[in-house]
Symmetry: C2
Subunit: 214 residues, 2 copies
DNA sequence: TTCGCCAAACCGACCAGACGGTATGACTGA
DNA sequence: TCAGTCATACCGTCTGGTCGGTTTGGCGAA
């Protein structure tokens, strides 16, 4: 992201520019997640954001750019959190199960917190320009590879089962993450933390070494 | 395969009408699944199907109608298969785990077979007209309720765990089903049957009664 | 303090084209 | 002749994007 990274924030100056970007992005996220990307017009976005089309096109080069900015923010955030949890686990010398549990619970909780982003992600990824789409795929793969390293370590140490391809285990877990927006509601009986804990527990149990396995 | 199962084929009659419908639906499915619903124009569909717009609008009332027809076919098919498997299990007196296993493996395998439909389903459900969308939701709920009945039976019989809400168990399983189109490729190393068996096994292990549970 | 100035921020009218959908009528087999 | 089937031409609407011009605010010079 960091499109507005170099905006110098002098005290007292209300930095209008960042505000416009924020408002537009917020409105775009809201509309994309409820109506879908293709059915939301730029006109609608700028109206909801309270700015004009001219202002929007001053900061974003295209409608596609808005979509990518949303992805970018989510991908960066989740990757940073993953890195941090893995690093902390390593320096503490935690058991691989505990690290994986922390990772899983965090990504579920974060995905709930950023559910609109997730909705847009699932529905509209194929609408991105091809190069942007490739970039998104690349960064997702990076994330999965770091996740897979944990799985492999657990398999090598004999705490996770080795009879199912890691690719399937990865898909098995991230399916839950991506599916959240299809069923979870914060108004329902379950808190985000409960969902995170229970889904993680289900996953960990399914990948645990089978009783009779060598 | 036999995707066009109930088409009545009168001898010698080239059944043009059904052909037009089929061709249009096939083309729509193909384009919707690769480009997305909103970004595919009616013009493209009829061109790919080798018919004209006039012909298409003779059989379908709107573009929305095409989308719904795709959903309708998939929902009907999977519901019918579920009903049949449950009924067969009941008359044979099979154990609930075995019935559930058969159901899970079948829905995974079927979802792989009809993956384009699944892709469209996931991406474009929110583009349907509100009443159609409600109809889709209603039929999905029906399906889930029948699935939930199996879970409840298993919980009552003490073979499935009772400490996680059934709603979450349902979501946990169907997340795998919906996520298939995001990662599975028939050209990859895994056959559909293998994926069905392994995902089902992962699910069944995660919902099995915990060792220390009462 | 005030003025002049300039770059960045922003405005909003405008465009070419594509869209979903329709009106009309020709063709065809019964 | 008549109902069903389809081709063709067309319509009004809306889209993402552009562009010439205007406003704004910070700042050096007077």
């Amino acid at each position: 992201m960091s499109r507005a990274a170099e905006v110098v924030t002098v005290k007292d100056v209300p930095m209008r520019t960042t505000n416009v970007q924020d408002q537009v992005l917020r409105a775009a996220l809201d509309l994309f997640s409820t109506q879908g990307y293709a059915t939301t017009s730029v006109q609608e976005i700028v109206a909801a954001a309270g700015v004009t089309k001219g202002a929007m096109y001053h900061y974003f080069s295209s409608k596609d750019d808005l979509l990518f900015a949303i992805y970018d923010r989510l991908l960066s955030l989740q990757k940073a959190r993953l890195d941090e949890i893995v690093a902390r686990g390593a320096e503490r010398g935690d058991a691989v199960e505990d690290v994986l549990r922390a990772v899983c619970e965090d990504v579920v909780a974060t995905s709930i917190e950023f559910m609109p982003e997730g909705t847009v992600f699932t529905r509209s990824q194929h609408m991105l320009m091809p190069d942007r789409q490739a970039e998104v795929k690349r960064r997702r793969r990076e994330y999965h590879e770091e996740f897979e390293a944990l799985l492999r370590r657990g398999i090598d140490e004999g705490v996770f089962r080795g009879d199912v391809p890691t690719a399937m285990l990865i898909a098995h877990f991230f399916s839950d993450v991506h599916y959240l927006s299809q069923w979870y509601s914060p108004d329902g009986p379950l808190t985000a933390a409960q969902v995170a804990e229970q889904l993680t527990e289900l996953f960990l149990r399914s990948i645990g070494r089978a009783p009779g396995e060598d």
